[in-house]
Symmetry: C2
Subunit: 410 residues, 2 copies
């Protein structure tokens, strides 16, 4: 079993160690919930101050041009693009994930006018399920949404499928899907592929270009650390730009927004998918948060992410054998950057951990979820978190008596 000194040594030679200083973290707290809401970065603090005091405060209305607020959704998309393996002009930052999915789903259904089926994962994030049902209803023709067991996808693929929408890393279990393989299978029947990258972006290396996907969308507040309710992003493969229509258009996506034309004419490129301006403060917060990613690579992040999740799993299994069902796959190619532990008393366990300064979260009915984020987490944090978990399992008032673990403490 890895001991604490070994973790200290791992931290000492961690190439990402210096990045922790970019974040505002509380002394005595171990934050394992960056997969739900990333912490404040110094880049964010600086950029938001700059937006408020300088761009908005001094520039006022002029900053639409002088600070280039007009292009901010596109420019920020370009900054984010390398994190998903996209190129300049393929990513837009705006709105929230649900609205971006709405635009892509609505537009996609028009691209396959003779097909009637949309497939999604029955255990997809529920907002994805609601918006796909809503956009199917708004399609103005009979669309059937099939929510399936994702492992049985091939059984459902035929030439009546218009679109498949999956989430790349499962928000509960942390299982990562085979983006390229699934996309190829979907394309083989002439359907379109939309990936929700909410739990992938900034967490695992992504290459939407080589995976040849059609569309993607994700959010800015998890591993990207853009702040609560941060704008989302969307990706449209170059072959679909100018082809995929924005079903929810607005003036900022018009070819000539300041000509005030009564009829909508789409701007070229990703700008077509802008409806109206997202909060410039919120864009600034995300912009500042992305700086830290430019001081590392997703390959480096991935190496440490797997090391942290491996460490967490092995420490839990060694210290608390048989107590938890480790839901997250052991196989690296199937794992995101979180560890999910199933336990009947999951809710109480997470509450007890939070009281002792280990911040994870609970997902009904029985998942304790721990996001392990390499930019600011140390190996020693993982070690300490597991020790506290052991302590909780041996003594917590939050646990039903029959679940208390009795270990021989050495």
């Amino acid at each position: 079993m890895t001991n604490r000194d070994e973790c200290v040594a791992l931290d000492a030679r961690d190439p990402l160690a210096a990045l922790r200083d970019d974040f505002v973290l509380r002394e005595g707290e171990i934050y394992l919930d960056g997969n739900s809401l990333g912490p404040v970065s110094k880049g964010t603090q600086r950029r938001v101050r700059e937006v408020i005091d300088h761009e908005w405060g001094e520039g006022l209305i002029r900053s639409w041009n002088s600070a280039n607020w007009m292009d901010a959704p596109i420019e920020l998309g370009n900054r984010l693009a390398p994190l998903i393996g996209a190129r300049e002009g393929e990513v837009l930052v705006a709105d929230t994930l649900t609205f971006l999915l709405a635009k892509i789903i609505g537009g996609s259904l028009e691209l396959r006018p003779d097909r009637h089926v949309v497939i999604t994962d029955a255990v997809n994030f529920h907002s994805d399920l609601y918006i796909v049902a809503a956009m199917a209803r708004l399609a103005g023709r009979d669309i059937i949404v099939k929510t399936i067991d994702r492992d049985t996808l091939v059984d459902y693929l035929d030439d009546d499928v218009a679109l498949v929408m999956f989430t790349h890393v499962d928000f509960r279990t942390g299982e990562m899907l085979d983006m390229a393989g699934i996309t190829a299978a979907v394309h083989a029947v002439g359907a379109l592929m939309l990936w929700d990258l909410a739990h992938s972006t900034g967490a695992v290396p992504l290459d939407v270009t080589s995976a040849n996907i059609d569309f993607a969308a994700g959010c800015g507040y998890k591993y990207l650390n853009g702040g609560p309710g941060a704008p989302g992003f969307m990706y449209v493969a170059p072959r679909w730009q100018g082809v995929l229509r924005n079903p929810l258009p607005g003036w900022l996506g018009h070819a000539r927004p300041f000509d005030f034309e009564p009829t909508y004419e789409s701007a070229p490129g990703m700008r077509a998918y802008v409806t109206s301006s997202p909060s410039v403060l919120a864009l600034g917060a995300l912009d500042g948060a992305l700086e830290v990613f430019e001081r590392t690579t997703m390959t480096e992040v991935r190496v440490k992410s797997l090391a942290l999740t491996d460490l967490f799993i092995s420490l839990v299994e060694e210290a608390l054998p048989g107590v938890f069902d480790v839901v997250t796959p052991r196989e690296h190619t199937l794992r995101g950057s979180q560890v999910a532990l199933r336990h009947e008393q999951g809710y109480g366990i997470v509450q007890a951990l939070i009281e002792r300064g280990v911040i994870g979260d609970f997902r009904a009915p029985d998942i304790c979820r721990f996001g392990l984020t390499p930019l600011y987490l140390r190996y020693v944090d993982v070690y300490d978190a597991v020790q506290i978990l052991v302590d909780v399992m041996m003594s917590s008032a939050h646990l039903d008596e029959r679940f208390i673990v009795r270990l021989a403490v050495t």
Copy 2:
């Protein structure tokens, strides 16, 4: 003609004078564009700092409960409600104006399933025109959008009209419409009435309750000073809550968001119209900006607004007789809180004013637009702005020679 000393005296006895200190304004600049983007307030600076450093920075994920981020769109709606004459639980702050209009239009068309016509104003803000056309297309049945001369509305009202959408104060001319009268006429044929309050909220007293309107939406970045791309707001009359469906649903509008149910079931009240979380930073910025309105009343604001616009018009007409066509109505009941001057060289005039520190804006083809915002503008600012306008008209390099005004300077 009012002289500068008289303006100084008016400022000395202005009951709103102290509110100017709540804003961050640049020395030597006169900001007449608060109808497009309001300035930074000290309330906003304070609240955004609090959200970043305390709520997000320290509370992290816990702030969804401890800082009540979950209820922020509703709570902020309650804070805004008195500005439009609405009551608690009738206003929501979220998304942007265009998305909120999309939700209302989409939902409204379902409430009048046997009617085929939506009426809007041909000179409405163009984003309103685009989204009404888009939502008509998504209705899944034949809907005709008629963009009419608003003064001829009665000619178009019949029992095939489902919805009328007008903007209460015209963004170009500043003309204010008769909310109660038009709403009554629309209701008389059984149609629904949606008001865009973008140029009204925080600018003129509003009473959506006594006007008996069905729906309204507006934006947070103009007279409310919520910052660039600030979230918008929507109002749903109590009689339609639980009846108007949200056609673009998301997990935060679910009756039980944390039960992760696969099927959408709408929350009661205004929460039904939340899709996903708006930026909490952006909500904070608007929240801080609304504080100043609690130190005055819209009646007081209106008295000063009319005094400022009257002063501006009279000074321009006296100093530059016949030079401009004053497009904004003289009659107080028909005037918002801006003055629009038509001039063939409008673009150059506005550029010249901006260079000399008077910030207005230009709306094609020929409107010079000046927002007169009582919370931070002084009478003497109006006086000085007009003097600078006179100076520009007599000498500017931005003007074609034949438009230069030659006055006998006394």
